[in-house]
């Protein structure tokens, strides 16, 4: 314990220490590199919410432009922003070599590619809207198996030990889950399982599963959800 603290505290010799943190940033998606057009639009936007933009950090995204900005073009855009009291701090999206160079010469940081931007791929949006719903109002008993094909499954009762429920979509259980629940069995990694009490024998999303004995802890009387995050099965309270 003591040694740990010693490592974490800055020693008296250091001038600073580094810490990780998360900030919410505004992204400016540029579609047209014409600096005059950008300036005029900035006039209007800032006039609409002057306080919001006071020294506001801004991240630039050029992925929607036909080509990346040159060093010169990027410099003009940064000037326009600073005139409006906005601080450009970096560039996100796909980084071509031209863009990397332009960023370096304008002292802008490079943000890694954002996951949230690529995830709503067309296939998945289709899948989530395609699901029908299958409703089960009676307890699912030991030895029973219910498969909601191309559908979400809603159970308004409990799922017993020895019972198994499967769905291509999400599974919602308004009761205790004691048996096995497998969501996204068709491979949908966005599928989730929700239940009012988790005592499952097994939970699985898109084929990634966890057995009861591998659960990190027990979850008495909690509304729970099970989902995939980066191909890792997560169990968390709602």
């Amino acid at each position: 314990m003591q040694t740990d603290e010693a490592v974490m505290r800055p020693s008296t010799k250091d001038a600073f220490q580094l810490k990780g943190s998360l900030f919410t940033l505004t992204i400016m998606q540029v579609v047209d590199l014409n600096c005059d057009k950008i300036s005029i639009q900035l006039d209007n936007v800032v006039a609409g919410a002057p306080n919001f933009f006071q020294q506001a950090p801004m991240v630039l995204d050029f992925n929607h432009c036909k080509q990346p900005p040159t060093t010169q073009q990027l410099s003009s855009i940064c000037d326009a922003l600073q005139k409006h009291n906005i601080s450009p701090i970096g560039i996100c999206g796909d980084h071509s070599d031209i863009l990397r160079q332009a960023a370096a010469e304008n002292h802008l940081a490079l943000f890694p590619k954002q996951k949230t931007e690529k995830s709503p791929s067309p296939a998945k949006t289709d899948a989530s809207t395609r699901y029908k719903t299958r409703l089960i109002t009676q307890p699912v008993r030991s030895g029973q198996q219910i498969y909601a094909k191309d559908a979400d499954l809603i159970v308004t009762a409990s799922v017993s030990n020895g019972a198994e429920i499967l769905a291509d979509g999400n599974i919602h259980i308004y009761g205790t889950l004691k048996g096995r629940a497998l969501a996204g069995v068709g491979g949908d990694q966005d599928a989730r399982i929700f239940c009012q009490q988790l005592e499952a024998e097994l939970v699985s999303i898109a084929g990634l599963y966890q057995l009861n004995e591998d659960f990190a802890q027990k979850y008495p009387n909690k509304n729970m959800q099970i989902y995939l995050d980066n191909e890792r099965l997560c169990i968390s309270e709602l």
Partner: protein, 278 residues
């Protein structure tokens, strides 16, 4: 007369007290003036007539009636103790597949016109025999012992009731399910050797019809060929009476759930009784 109500006594697991319960329940209903027939669906074993004390009077059986080798009135045995009670025994010699759904339906339809209650004593298991016994049921009494394997099997039979009964197949109002917890021993529950009433209710989530304590009176009664409900002094007999009353809609508090506080005299008497029983 109105159509009889069909009640199946079932459990999944074997040896939990279905036949004991069928005999007690049918007798209890008849004692209340309700015309009752109890059918032994346990083809090949035939236990019910032993417990009802009428094994020597069996001439024809359920399978004979289904095969039209005898009519229903030739096969039914009138109980000697209760006026309104009849027994339809199972065959001891036939195999399990002797019952056909069509045959059972024909017999049940015939009985329906004459009786108030048809009680079906199911064989153990969840296969054909048990499915036949529950297929036509309006109500199901789920006999469960307070232990994990029995509860699990009851859960399975409940699954079959809600998917493979006639009512389920024809999308009618579901079979009304009731829990009868038998061979309950409060002191073993307290020690943690047995599941409690609350545990079992929580797992099966069906209404509790009654709790029958573990009782020497049951063995005594079955040896004597007289349903335990007729032993009105016994705890099990009284518990079955309460359950029948609740089944008929009366409001009775549950008894025999707590460890009995014995006086010294009672304790002496009990230990005598225990010696006698072995």
């Amino acid at each position: 007369m109105a159509d009889a109500e069909i009640v199946v006594i079932t459990s999944g697991k074997g040896g939990v007290g279905k036949t004991t319960t069928s005999a007690a329940f049918a007798t209890g209903l008849a004692m209340r003036g309700l015309k009752t027939v109890v059918i032994d669906f346990d083809v090949g074993l035939r236990n019910l007539d032993l417990i009802m004390g009428c094994e020597r009077r069996v001439v024809y059986d359920f399978v004979n009636v289904i095969n039209e080798e005898a009519n229903i009135h030739q096969a039914m045995i009138k109980d000697k103790r209760a006026d309104n009670l009849y027994i339809l025994p199972a065959s001891q010699t036939r195999d399990k597949d002797a019952l056909s759904k069509e045959g059972v339906e024909r017999v049940i339809n015939q009985l329906k016109e004459e009786f108030d209650y048809i009680v079906c004593d199911s064989p153990a298991g969840i296969e054909t025999g048990a499915q036949m016994a529950l297929y036509f049921a309006d109500k199901a009494i789920i006999v469960t012992n307070p232990e994990v394997s029995s509860v699990r099997d009851s859960d399975r039979i409940l699954g079959i009731l809600s998917s493979k009964s006639k009512r389920a197949e024809e999308n009618l109002e579901p079979v009304k399910e009731m829990l009868l917890l038998t061979r309950y021993e409060p002191y073993r529950v307290e020690r943690g050797d047995m599941l409690s009433v609350q545990d079992v209710e929580e797992i099966l989530s069906i209404p509790l019809l009654g709790v029958i304590p573990e009782s020497k009176a049951v063995l005594r009664a079955s040896n004597a060929g007289s349903p335990v409900i007729l032993d009105e002094q016994s705890d099990a007999g009284q518990a079955y009476h309460d359950a029948v009353s609740r089944f008929l809609g009366e409001d009775k508090p549950h008894r025999f759930l707590e460890i009995e506080k014995k006086g010294i005299l009672q304790r002496l008497f009990k230990s005598k009784e225990r010696e006698g029983a072995y």
